[in-house]
Amino acid sequence: MAAFSFRGVSKTMSKTFDRYASIAFLLIGLLFVIESTKIASSAYGSTVGPKIFPLWLGVILILLSLRLLYETFTYKSESASKEKLQYKKFLIILVSAALYAFLLEKLGYVISTFLFLLVTFQTMERGRIISTIIIAAVFSFGIYYFFAEFLGGSLPGFPL
């Protein structure tokens, strides 16, 4: 939620990230250029085939990435403020979200959502087991019954 900031005033951009990002986008642009030349050009309908637009975009992205790469060499200083990031919490939540996606169709919506919420609530803050169980249960059952039973939407309910 950084509000309006002033161009030129703030120089806290991360040099390392920008460098890697510019190289990554350069490669993406390159990939697009190479791959779009492989698209079959259609003889039918149009003088401009399906390959032109992505090809140009690839070229423009390559040019912009080079420009960004050049800009990173003009940054005055590396960002000084190193805040402590909570990697452990983030990783647990990310992994449990990936597991949630993996198990959603296998265990059904209610059980997988309940487990996901229980794990992540406890990850955010340990303790108060009973209230987290209640909230997780109310959410997973509530959404399922409201959506699948009441509104007639389709969700994998329970394991078959």
Partner: protein, 508 residues
């Protein structure tokens, strides 16, 4: 039929009981979205699309689209009301468009005038909403009459202008903003090409044939990106919430803020109509204007009510003004309107000049519902301001996992594939990394929505001209749009070279 008659029909649609309910749900959720610092209007609207899609699934397409868009637009302008609450009570803006409100609003709260500040921002928002709606009603017909004469060349150049405007104003680095725009356009080319039927970048994966779903990408980039940010950078600033004593503003307060409200509404409306410039810029400019016109500019920053009334009116008027290019030209000028447009396209309804002819019930129903929604917000916000202030205290440990769960539900309920869930998570991580490093994600979403339309119009124009690119420069209107697009990009660069500070529009 005359405009008034259409408006009357619109009200007939908006007054259907389920649409009243939809508008009500929309503005209540919108206010909550505005109050909660984690979710902005963009992710709020994106998250509700699947819910509205399901609720309206039994209705005929056109009525379903009208009802959904009524709810979703309610979230958008409702968030503008809610954003002021945290600015005033906590000194923490709920939305970036309410940042300037903290300057005088929080000072007023410290002086025990929190109630007056909240009330005046609700009243200002209401007046602004009405002003922008009148503007919308007056401009809709003439603008769509002009736009209907546009050919593919004009459309291509106009969309280019939209993208240029958003990229020119977003973020600190224009290079990065342009990269995001181009990347969004590229993502939009994945899938089966609509003109030739040839699969592009799909690598024989059937899941990619229909392209990447914009909803998944928008929710991932905005909602999950914001969740991951909060998890990683847990900010412990638990500010104390100011007490609300008396809600109704005094007569003197009303007198002091009447003119700023009118000025803010007009200014905000016109800024909102411009593509790229949105609520944040509008509120900022309004604050500057009020300070300039004030007889006692030194009182600004020390609890001057004009510093709350002006900007709060302006950001609401801007959200109304932003609907104009969306509805009449079919070109969204901001991230949130891009998502609204994506929602309409999901119902197979193409916003643009033909919308008013083909689906008058959607266009006019929405406009009429915005009148009603603004009235609801005024009625809701005055007595319920204490309740919404309580929403701020929702503990993050429950809020964040639930946002993840709602995102999963929303994406899965529309797409029915696990692939989209993994894509969602991936976009969340990418969204966090990008916005943390000043790569604006709003242009990416806008480009993703506009991409296929830009390409199709470009190819149609080139087919007409037999592959001659001169068509974009020889058609006078198209040339004007291209010059304007170039100006949007070049003027900030020139200003920067002269060492001037440029304000940036930031949407969350």
């Amino acid at each position: 039929m005359s405009t008034l008659q259409f408006l009357g029909d619109g009200f007939a649609i908006a007054f259907q009981w389920h649409n009243l309910l939809f508008a009500f749900i929309g503005v209540v959720i919108g206010t909550a979205v505005g109050v909660l610092p984690g979710i902005g209007p963009m992710s709020g609207v994106a998250l509700l699309i699947p819910v509205t899609a399901t609720i309206t699934s039994g209705m005929p397409t056109s009525a379903a689209a009208a009802s959904s868009i009524i709810l979703l637009a309610g979230v958008y302008y409702g968030a503008m009301y809610g954003g002021s609450t945290t600015s005033i009570l906590l000194n923490t803006p709920g939305e970036s468009s309410s940042v300037v409100t903290t300057l005088d609003g929080y000072q007023m709260a410290r002086q025990g005038r929190a109630g007056a500040a909240l009330a005046i921002s609700a009243i200002g928002s209401f007046c602004a909403g009405i002003v922008s709606l009148i503007g919308l009603v007056l401009l809709a017909e003439p603008l769509s009459n002009v736009a209907i004469k546009f050919g593919p060349a004009e459309y291509f150049s106009l969309m280019l202008l939209g993208l240029a405007a958003v990229s020119g104003l977003a973020g600190k680095s224009m290079t990065k903003a342009l990269m995001m725009t181009v990347f969004g356009l590229m993502l939009g080319t994945i899938g089966i090409d609509a003109v030739s039927g040839i699969a592009r970048f799909t690598y024989n994966q059937p899941i990619l044939f229909s392209g990447l779903e914009f909803l998944t990408i928008a929710v991932g980039l905005f909602a999950l990106g914001e969740v991951f940010k909060t998890v990683l950078e847990r900010d412990n600033e638990e500010g104390t919430i100011a007490k609300i004593n008396r809600i109704l503003p005094t007569k003197q307060d009303m007198k002091d803020s009447a003119v700023p409200i009118v000025r803010g509404s007009l200014l905000g409306f016109f800024i909102g109509v411009l593509p790229g410039a949105g609520a944040t810029l509008a509120s900022f400019f309004s604050y500057m204007t009020e300070k300039k016109f004030s007889k006692r500019p030194e009182t600004f920053g020390h609890g001057n009510i004009a510093g709350v009334a002006g900007p709060e009116s302006a950001n609401n008027a801007a959200s109304g003004g932003a609907m104009i290019p969306l509805l009449t030209l079919g070109i969204p000028g901001s991230g949130t309107t891009a998502i609204l447009m994506g929602a309409l396209i999901m119902y197979n309804i193409q916003p643009g000049p033909l919308l008013f002819d083909e689906h008058p019930e959607v266009a006019w129903g929405l406009i009429a519902s915005m009148f009603i929604g603004n009235l609801m917000l005024l009625v809701l916000n005055m007595p319920l301001v204490r309740v919404f202030a309580k929403v701020i205290q929702t503990p993050k440990k429950y809020l964040l996992p639930i946002i993840v769960a709602i995102s999963f539900f929303g994406v899965y309920a529309v797409q029915y594939t696990t692939f989209d869930l993994y894509l969602l998570l991936g976009c969340g991580v990418v969204g966090y990394l990008l916005s943390k490093n000043d790569y604006p994600v709003a242009p990416l979403v806008l480009a993703l929505v506009l991409g296929p339309m830009i390409e199709n119009n470009m190819r149609r124009a080139l087919t007409i001209s037999n592959g001659d690119f001169g068509i974009f420069f020889t058609k006078p209107l198209s040339l004007v749009f291209i010059i304007a697009a170039a100006a949007w990009l070049l003027i900030p660069l020139l200003l920067k070279m002269r060492g001037k500070a440029v304000i940036v529009e930031d949407e969350g």
